[in-house]
């Protein structure tokens, strides 16, 4: 590959050290120019990260980071086993592409729209991000401001969706009414695999995709297949309560591993030794703190899994809605040893009551996952699989995601604005870079649980950060969802929260 792609490519990749622009950024720009300028032809293979790194005398991480962003923005696409290629179909507005991080204008055309839009897992805030998995959800199913896990249901293209559902309901054949396969309908598995390959750099074929009843079901299946009774599974601390309940329901024991600004502390994980059968992580947007796992940590985690023959469960729950900086591609895409199980859901990109998610599993585990699904509930309803496959193939999915990215960006800014205006004395924003919630710290000495209870009396539904800890909470804070409320509602809600805090203080 070096010999073919290298020579004519090199002139377009003039890397200058110490000019204030990161090397991976310069490399991204150069490769993007080469693609838009047709130096790299659509469908053409690009050098492997290792080859190009050698050629340019830069680290493989630098190339990996640039490739990930190009994959993320749709200029490149990965094909399982075959390598990385220039996209056949470039983002429709690629010629005017401006990476999102360079602008915050809600409606500025930018390439990430086109590609983020092509991602099933986009903005899929956890299936059940409510604190204490069950109880929280049961008590508050509402659509209240700050509710986690809630997409903009009022903005969903209901008429289009109803048309597709009605079309397939009328056309249901006996074959489509009979038993289906545990893996799901081929047409949907193909659509999911293609989107994950092109927009999340996931390395998969359709037959590695397993359609689930949402990501909670996906995590529960991982527990059933990967963990025997009494096995130890490492979870992030703080972390996602729903994953913990899925693992403990399978009789597994939880080993909390601290999270810092680079994600799960892999050194701490490694110190637990070989007895850890699996580690569950949220690399793109850590739940609940929001940090992105660093590339170094990602490689260390994969190395850990390979060395111990353990598994990594990648819960890629809202990797697409990013408002600052660029996300890395999926951890799964960098996994050469087939140790990663990738978990995603449509609950937030479309709507929770759809109950459709997916897993991408290593070929070696496919049959085991099918058997487990079979023993659980056999397969998912067929009608929604048919409608969803059309929704994706006919481009509605892409358009919806693009609209949502702009919409959520505005809602997020409204929330941050309201917090700064009304709550600054008690609440510090910790992370608001991505997803559908903002993670915050409370002033020392304040109890987040008590505050959340008081907020409920005012019909506000936040989540207490401390409920995401297995052990003693290091910090108290609020997780504030902004997906399900419009900007006016969010401003009003922050005002109400400010009043609450003021009355507490007095």
């Amino acid at each position: 590959m070096r010999t073919t792609a290298g020579p004519h490519l090199l002139p377009h990749l003039p890397l200058v050290r110490g000019n204030g622009v990161a090397l991976h950024q310069q490399l991204f720009d150069g490769l993007r120019r080469a693609i838009l300028g047709r130096v790299l032809r659509p469908g053409g293979r690009v050098p492997s990260t290792r080859a190009l790194a050698q050629e340019l005398g830069v680290s493989r991480l630098t190339v990996l980071t640039a490739y990930d962003q190009l994959l993320h923005e749709g200029y490149l696409e990965g094909r399982a086993g075959a390598g990385t290629f220039v996209s056949g179909a470039l983002p429709d507005d690629a010629l005017h592409a401006t990476p999102l991080r360079r602008t915050r204008a809600p409606n500025a055309p930018n390439a990430t729209n086109a590609t983020g839009a092509a991602t099933p897992s986009s903005g899929t805030v956890r299936d059940d991000a409510s604190p204490g998995a069950t109880s929280g959800r049961r008590e508050d199913r509402g659509l209240r401001p700050f509710r986690l896990s809630l997409p903009a249901l009022d903005e969903f293209p209901r008429a289009t969706w109803a048309r597709l559902v009605s079309r397939h309901a009328r056309a249901l054949t006996p074959a489509m009414m009979a038993y289906g396969l545990p893996g799901g309908l081929g047409v949907l598995r193909e659509a999911v695999a293609e989107h994950l390959r092109t927009s999340r750099a996931v390395r998969c074929e359709a037959d590695q995709v397993l359609i689930t009843s949402g990501s909670q079901a996906g995590l529960r299946l991982c527990a059933a297949v990967l963990l025997r009774h009494g096995d130890v599974v490492a979870v992030e601390e703080p972390g996602y309560p729903g994953a913990r309940s899925a693992f403990t329901a399978a009789g597994a024991r939880l080993a909390p591993v601290p999270v810092d600004d680079e994600g799960m502390d892999v050194a701490g994980l490694a110190s637990l030794g070989a007895r850890v059968r699996a580690a569950c992580v949220t690399p793109s947007h850590q739940y609940p703190l929001g940090v992105s796992m660093s590339a170094a940590r990602r490689l260390a985690l994969l190395e850990w899994a390979e060395r111990h023959g353990s598994w990594v469960i990648e819960d890629d729950y809202d990797s697409e809605y990013r408002y600052v900086s660029r996300p890395l591609g999926a951890l799964q895409g960098v996994d050469a040893a087939g140790r990663v199980i990738y978990v995603g859901t449509f609950s937030k990109v479309l709507f929770p009551a759809l109950r459709v998610g997916y897993l991408v599993v290593p070929a070696s585990l496919r049959d085991a996952f099918f058997e487990a699904r079979d023993a659980f509930d056999i397969f998912s309803p067929t009608l929604y699989q048919l409608a969803l496959a059309d929704f994706i193939r006919e481009g509605h999915f892409v358009r919806h995601l693009r609209r949502m990215r702009t919409l959520y960006h505005g809602r997020r800014d409204a929330l941050l604005d309201g917090l700064a205006r009304h709550c600054a004395a008690s609440i510090t924003v910790h992370n608001a870079e991505a997803g559908l919630h903002v993670s915050t710290w409370l002033r020392d000495g304040m109890s987040d649980v008590a505050l959340v209870r008081r907020m409920q009396e005012r019909r506000l539904s936040a989540t207490a950060l401390s409920t995401c800890y297995m052990g003693a909470a290091a910090r108290s804070g609020l997780l504030l969802g902004f997906g399900g409320s419009n900007e006016r509602q969010l401003r009003a809600a922050t005002r109400t929260l400010g009043e609450l805090l003021a009355s507490d203080a007095s």
Copy 2:
């Protein structure tokens, strides 16, 4: 109750011993006359089984049997806690009612139509009756003749269903698109509870009903809630492979208990002692042999459960399609101690790809079941729950079941006729009284597994009886489904099977 209902009722119940008509039969006829003659008014309460038994000097079982049939045929309805009442709405053709067992004419009007029609669990042949649960199902998803678990998909009122689905898809509100409760939608739970009360004599309120993703999911939830890792669960031998896979997936150990002509050998179960946490039975129509559990065995089983504090899982999978004799009501309806979990599904009454079933759980277990559902996949898709509730409430469900009973009766007769004509030398019918499959014995020395394999080559999809045994199979036989093929197809299939058998013999 005795004093009120007794006096004027007695003259209508002249029981004559030794006239060749069983006492419960005479009692059924007398009570039915009293209801049709308005001696017992619609909505009026009837004496308790115990009171009437004392009054008439007959055993409680005699009264129980008569009441069960009246409940089954819609003349009586049970109300949880309150007792048993004369139906407000009698079967529309009750005045011409002739119990089904008295006629085999496919289109003779009879009361069981009206009532059978009112039963969600009707004809729900197992969710996955294929041999070897997983493998069998994966290899053969077809619509081939003799396929088990297959309803008459071509006869389903698709247009009506599509209309209901489209109506609700267009009207989806944000609240209906958001997260739902693990128990399911109240409107559907109400509809299911009412049908089970009136047509299956199940004692339940809507809040005991939990909507599942089909009966496999229901069994898996039972395993999660009732069985700890290593616990022993008693299963029928021969029995349903899907149930066994659900229990073993939860880490439970299986204790096979032989089945005879009265159902599971409860004495054998009792001999296993207190260490058995639960017993899973199919009392209405034993899977696979087809026998109905005797009333004496039912009471003994309930007594066993109460004595040991164990649980009974009643898999009431196709209790409504009966062609000979009368079924008893659900075991759950006789359970005073709250030890029975009732499992049902709509997969066969409507269609498998619907993926909707239900559980009726004792109030004491409700929260535990909700938590388990929450950890598995939270809740079922909302749209189908809405459409299904309307399908039941608007009477489509009743009409469809009525049509299906007649249709399946004809298909069963066509199968029996074809077997007698073409296969009598090698195949003996063991049970064809109910449900959507016929259980048969093969001539001594014939291997059912080998025969099933040869049948597959001829595109026939039977199930080998021996695959339903955990231990060595006592007999070899074929389970032949007749729900999914019309009479012509079934005649052709039996002809093909006859040719196969002849070529084997030669």
